[in-house]
């Protein structure tokens, strides 16, 4: 047993030696905002508050400026001490349970936390933009952003009915498709496209249902198509091959962020979809 003893002793010594390496505190500029939640970060930057942001969470991937900012973790699993080590003046979080304890601890430490509701509809998105601009003390910055979205993201109606399917995942087992209460569904409804799937959120779809309700075209996010090995391979999926749209590979590949996140660039997603559909 002396061998085990030695191993334990050595491990402890190594740890003790490592301690000095840890005696550096996170240094960061005093008093800024930490934003957690991709949509929230995106909006903050869009209304001009970007220079006040000192750190973001890992779900914040837009706009491109955030890539230079340090990451504090995932907004649904924040670490109180981690956030506090940035010495923020405020912490802004997108609603989503999981970090409540950490947020409570942050407040106990004297840093105010503001929570924002997650937008699921366009009007909620506009409300959130206004709210953020208000909080930043620049309420007039909201309008131009909202207008720019509204201009490009107006509902369209079409003479010929069209139906679509948004595929989030393909696998041997079938496909996971976007139903109600999702951004793809919102995009569809704005362009007067019927979503062939009527469940809530992202769920696996039964093949039978798809066979009976065939979509005219398919939309998929870029990261999924890339993972499958490209358009052709993606369309080769067994379930998709059952559909006419799959056989003829009527596929629109959309940037993942655009297609899945409720960001200020949602109008671009709308335009991309419209452009594709009009070509059909």
């Amino acid at each position: 047993m002396t061998r085990l003893y030695r191993i334990l002793k050595h491990s402890l010594l190594i740890l003790a030696a490592a301690l000095p390496l840890l005696t550096h505190a996170q240094n960061s500029p005093q008093g800024g905002i930490i934003t957690a939640g991709g949509t929230l970060t995106d909006i903050v930057f869009a209304v001009g508050g970007g220079d006040k942001v000192i750190g973001v969470d890992t779900s914040s991937t837009s706009p491109s400026a955030v890539h230079k900012l340090p990451k504090v973790g995932y907004y649904r699993n924040l670490s109180a001490e981690g956030v506090l080590s940035f010495n923020p003046k405020q912490v802004w979080v997108l609603e989503g349970t999981g970090s409540e304890r950490a947020l409570a601890q942050i407040e106990t430490a004297g840093v105010p936390v503001t929570e924002f509701d997650k937008p699921t509809t366009l009007s909620e998105l506009y409300a959130l933009i206004e709210q953020v601009a208000d909080q930043l003390g620049t309420p007039d910055r909201a309008e131009p952003v909202i207008n720019s979205i509204e201009d490009k993201f107006h509902p369209v109606s079409r003479a010929q009915p069209l139906s679509g399917l948004f595929v989030l995942q393909v696998s041997e087992r079938g496909v996971v498709a976007a139903g109600h209460d999702s951004v793809p569904d919102l995009l569809f409804s704005q362009s007067d496209i019927t979503n062939v799937v009527d469940h809530k959120g992202f769920k696996t779809v039964s093949r039978e249902h798809l066979l009976v309700n065939q979509p005219d075209f398919i939309v998929a996010p870029s990261h999924v198509v890339d993972a499958a090995g490209g358009r052709e391979q993606f369309c080769q999926n067994a379930t998709l091959q059952l559909l006419n749209a799959g056989q003829s590979c009527q596929l629109l590949v959309m940037d993942s962020l655009l297609a899945l996140g409720m960001t200020t660039r949602i109008a671009e997603a709308h335009e991309a979809l419209l452009a594709y559909v009009n070509d059909l």
Partner: protein
């Protein structure tokens, strides 16, 4: 040859381990790292600290340390009790359905919380605790017999219930939306990060009472090493003993799971290591397991907190990532000894 003083040295080692890992957890972290921090309450050692830093140490790190020590000790102690009761070195507190039950109820609240109006981590904790107790009760009734709990059936019933829980969890995963799914997987990996002085008292009471009760049952539990029959001949009321064991383990581990989610491996590996070091005699095994469990859990919490700072890893990942290879190492070293005594 296991002389008393040899075993005593592991008690000392365990205590030192607790001191060392407590020191680590208190003195390092993203906000402030200073090895002198734990001394700050002693006159003359105080380091100048901002209000924020003081809050972090006293409101965040200190309760987290207390929780870690308590949970580590309780999990290891319960593992010792279960392994002796089941006369099986693979017994784990979760075996009697605690983990499955806690998971189903807790994750149900996470997944369906919105629909049933129960949102918030307090409900998740409550559900986890109730779930642990409920499933333990069901498993206990299933395994009840003339001479009290039939251990073989207990294990099988626990396996069956855990399997049932697994399928229910699958169902919940299907109905949950993305948000909830993420939360569910985090919960199942366990975390000590939510510790706070407000939340601790109830957990301390639950775990403390269960721990003391089990500790006081050391002698009778020891007789189980000779088998239930022989324990009876020695004068132990085995029916009552088994029932008490299960109740206290359920309360203690249920309380721990309610506060931290599921942390695996501790209840399985720590008693193993302790058994190799001090033998199967519960009079030594239990205290050494408790000390080692506390020290190791706090150490792994420190790793979880530090390794991807400023983010944190769920502690269950570390206990599995460190525990499993170490366990394999032990297996290879101790192949012939593992079955002795059971």
């Amino acid at each position: 040859m296991l002389m008393t003083f040899e075993r005593r040295r592991w008690l000392i080692a365990g205590t030192l381990g607790i001191l060392a890992s407590s020191w680590l957890l208190l003195s390092s972290g993203p906000v402030l790292s200073d090895w002198r921090l734990p001394l700050m309450w002693l006159p003359g050692f105080g380091t100048p600290m901002s209000e924020l830093e003081l809050t972090v140490v006293t409101q965040l790190r200190l309760p987290r340390l207390v929780l870690g020590l308590l949970v580590g000790a309780v999990l290891a102690q319960s593992g010792t009790a279960m392994q002796t009761l089941c006369r099986n070195p693979l017994a784990d507190p979760g075996l009697i359905g605690i983990s499955g039950g806690a998971a189903v109820f807790a994750l149900a609240v996470i997944a369906l919380g919105e629909q049933i109006g129960l949102q918030g981590s307090i409900w998740v904790s409550l559900a986890a605790f109730l779930g642990a107790l409920l499933t333990t009760f069901v498993v206990y009734r299933l395994a009840g017999g003339k001479t009290g709990v039939d251990v073989a059936i207990l294990l099988l019933a626990g396996v069956a219930i855990n399997a049932l829980a697994g399928s229910l969890l699958g169902l919940l995963s299907y109905y949950a939306d993305d948000d909830a799914l993420r939360l569910m997987s985090f919960w199942q990996m366990g975390s000590l990060a939510g510790a706070s002085w407000q939340q601790l008292p109830l957990g301390v009471v639950l775990m403390g009472v269960s721990s003391i009760a089990l500790f006081m049952l050391r002698k009778p539990i020891n007789t189980l090493l000779l088998g239930e029959r022989q324990a009876r001949y020695l004068g132990v009321n085995t029916v009552s003993l088994k029932r008490q064991l299960i109740i206290w383990v359920a309360l203690g581990v249920g309380g721990a799971v309610a506060l931290t989610g599921m942390i695996g491996f501790v209840g399985l590996i720590i008693p193993h290591i302790a058994r190799i070091l001090v033998g199967a005699n519960i009079r030594w095994l239990m205290p050494v397991s408790m000390l080692f469990g506390a020290a190791v859990l706090v150490l792994t919490d420190w790793i979880a907190k530090t390794i991807v700072a400023p983010a944190e890893l769920p502690i269950g990942i570390i206990t599995a990532a460190v525990g499993a290879p170490f366990f394999i190492y032990l297996l290879i070293q101790q192949k012939r000894r593992l079955h002795a005594g059971y």
